[in-house]
């Protein structure tokens, strides 16, 4: 009985998990050594992990963090934020601005940069959230504003094309902390994941967001501040944007306001969808979105490993995504469960005979 319950909860994760498994199998058959991980010394002579598996885990970091925030916004507002790439770039610019403020870059400067960047991103998140919750503008239209102007704002902040910083701490943020073989972005994803897990455990975040997303009117009649909850979702996503932007900027020790995390909003939304969450809001499973993010990154890495020209990659990605989305659609799910029920009934009939 207990086991059955747990299984029922897992069905939502079935499609993303199968997709991930299929990608892994595909790669293993193609190249048995695809996922081999080795320990090598990097430029500084520190031992670090290297291999396709590590580059998938590392490369998906920004996407995974944004997908977590996007899940909440989707659940509560029933819409998506398309400004996350632009907002991440703004936060990265604020971060770099603080670091270029003059003087030596110490841990204190980094923390200050993160704090300011986070506050700015949360303020922009609150702006998006206000448009959606108070003025009841469709999320996609509301966030179109920041999507359109965000990268210009990022440019203004530093007043230069691509400001760079030179600091071993920033390099470590985007790469490896000396002595730690795991890429720092992966550790940051784990930290953000733990923060969300704690939030779900220590507050009623999950219940409130789902209630607001499913039935706003009823949520109000049960004393939930629906407007506040939607606002909160956008503010949390803002903080996620800040973290993702800082990782992205740290990888190159610079901000390219035109290129940083370009088009990542679409991947973030896709990750939520692949994770089996309804883009119409309501019930959600953040684990699904996270797996979705890694599926997308695994796909990209696989295509690169297959030497698909980078100009063609998007087309191949689209093909796989069509497949995933169709398999995950309610129509197919229903057909499959019907088929399954039919097979079981026939088997039961045979046994009876």
């Amino acid at each position: 009985m207990k086991k059955q319950k747990r299984l029922a909860g897992l069905t939502q994760l079935l499609v993303p998990l199968i997709a991930l498994l299929a990608l892994v199998l595909f790669n293993l058959i193609r190249d048995p050594g695809f996922f081999s991980v080795e320990m090598v010394a990097n430029n500084n002579g520190d031992p670090v992990l290297k291999g396709n598996l590590i580059s998938i885990l590392n490369g998906a970091s920004e996407l995974a963090i944004l997908a977590m925030g996007m899940t909440l916004v989707t659940a509560a507002s029933g819409g998506q934020d398309i400004s996350v790439g632009a907002l991440a770039t703004i936060s990265a610019s604020v971060f770099i601005k603080v670091l270029r403020g003059g003087g030596a870059i110490g841990v204190g400067t980094i923390l200050l940069g993160f704090l300011l960047s986070c506050l700015v991103a949360m303020a922009f998140g609150a702006f998006n959230g206000t448009l959606v919750s108070v003025f009841r503008i469709q999320p996609m239209i509301a966030t179109l504003i920041l999507y359109t102007c965000g990268r210009s704002v990022a440019y203004w902040i530093n007043g230069g094309a691509s400001p760079t910083v030179d600091s071993p701490i920033v390099t470590a943020l985007g790469g490896f902390i000396p002595g730690v073989p795991v890429p720092t972005p992966v550790l940051i994803v784990i930290a953000v994941g733990i923060l969300f897990a704690l939030a779900f455990r220590l507050t009623s975040l999950g219940l409130y967001m789902q209630t607001v997303g499913i039935n706003q009117g009823a949520a109000r009649l049960n004393g939930i501040n629906a407007v506040g909850m939607k606002l909160l979702a956008f503010i949390i996503l803002g903080a996620c944007c800040s973290v993702a932007g800082i990782i992205g900027a740290s990888r190159l020790s610079m901000v390219n306001h035109e290129q940083l995390l370009l088009d990542i909003e679409m991947d973030a939304i896709l990750a939520v969808a692949i994770g089996g969450n309804s883009l119409g809001g309501g019930k959600f499973r953040m684990t699904g979105s996270i797996i979705g993010a890694y599926v997308i990154q695994a796909l990209t890495t696989t295509l690169y490993a297959m030497k698909v020209p980078s100009t063609d990659i998007k087309a191949y990605k689209a093909l796989v995504i069509i497949l995933l989305v169709v398999i995950g659609s309610p129509v197919v799910k229903q057909k499959v469960s019907h088929l399954w029920a039919g097979i079981r009934a026939r088997r039961a009939g045979k046994e009876a005979a």
């Binding site: 039935n215 009649l221 049960n222 309501g282």
Partner: protein, 501 residues
Amino acid sequence: MENGVVLAMRKIGKVFPGVRALHDVDFTLRKGEIHALMGENGAGKSTLIKVLTGVYEKDAGEIYIDGEEGAITIRSPQEALSHGISPVYQEITLCPNLTVAENMYIGRTPGALVNWKQMEQKAGELLRNLNIPARPKQQLGSCSLAVQQMVAIARAVDGDCKVLILDEPTSSLDDKEVEMLFKLMRDLKARGVGIIFVTHFLEQVYAVSDRITVLRNGELVGEYEVGKLPQVELVAKMMGKELESLSVIKKDAQGGARAPETLYEAEGLSSSESRPFDFHIAKGEVNGFTGLLGSGRSESVRAIFGADRVTGGRVKVNGKPVRIAKPYDAMKHGIGYLPEDRKRDGIIADLSVRDNMILAMQVMKGFFHPISRADAEKFADEYIKALEIKTASQDTPVKSLSGGNQQKVILARWLLTHPQYLILDEPTRGIDVGTKTEIQRLVLKLAEEGMSVTFISSEIEEMLRTCSRLIVMRDRHIVGELTGGELTQEQVMHTIAGGGN
């Protein structure tokens, strides 16, 4: 067809999956007559209108119309129009940004070209003829709602209109505007148009109609001449009680004997949806709001709970003045509210039975004090057992439960918060008889334990069985209060009908 009859519907039947919406209904409309169609919620009024206007196809019966041989078939609103049947709906379906003339003729001009001059001339004539205070070139949006309604009627009656259907035309008009509309209706009547008037305002029926047809539960109760049917009898027929068969139920004077310690008190309370009213309830008292559909009973309790925007009034809980502006305020003062529309306002459809149950309690505890999974499971188990809720498990989404069991889940949600005052709006609607009595018994038990309960039900017997005091509403006003020996069906109906004591 009989002489003078413009529309005859015979033995009309309509079945929806699982529901018999209309059965053997006859309806006859004569030339130059205003005929009120009356019935409570679910009586079949709107189904009958929709069959007549081609929105639904009937499953049985025949429709005859004056001037046409044999039974006609109506498969679409266009076909209805071609037979001279024109509906004007409650919400105005015209375009406010077009002119009055355009609104009257849009989509009805032959061919692609419009002769503007001729159109405006014709519109002007019709408006003058019907004494409608609007100019053809005026933007419709600049007219009052009543005039817009009248323009809609002018559009409907232009051409070969035999049957005009007015579906709740007065619900958003004030008294003066209603009078204007009535004058237009009488004018049209004098021109020989047959008018079907659907409304829930009793007084308006008596002010303007010639005949009344009453439906109940999809069946015809009867057709009556207005002069021969007193209001109280009309109410009885709508509710399904013959006056002479009404037995007087003596209520034990329990309510009066109890210590009259007031729990909740409101003075001049009003909301965006309700007119100002006074109300109070004592500890352990069960009272109720009664009245016909649309009388304002639900709006009143929603105002108490802060469900609609509260616009005025003084409220005291346990003798202390408090401010209840939103549901959360009411919950903090120990008030629970089970809403009338379970699907729209009550259940969180996709969430599990357990999450639905703990919701209000969780909100009371606060965002930063989540109820542990173990506690939630314990509470859910306890109430599933106590209220005998039939569900596969606590994890089952509440939407897959039956109506009665969903209602019990919401009831459990409020009982978990241990309210001192529980408002139940139609807790027994659409659920089976067994569950109904269970809920009534529960209400009485809760009151015995000291909880105050306000109960609303469309079924008068239910109210009489459970309430020791009834507040009677009609046309959004409180028109009476009944206690003790006055708690009889007859008395309730007299009060609703305006007879008073």
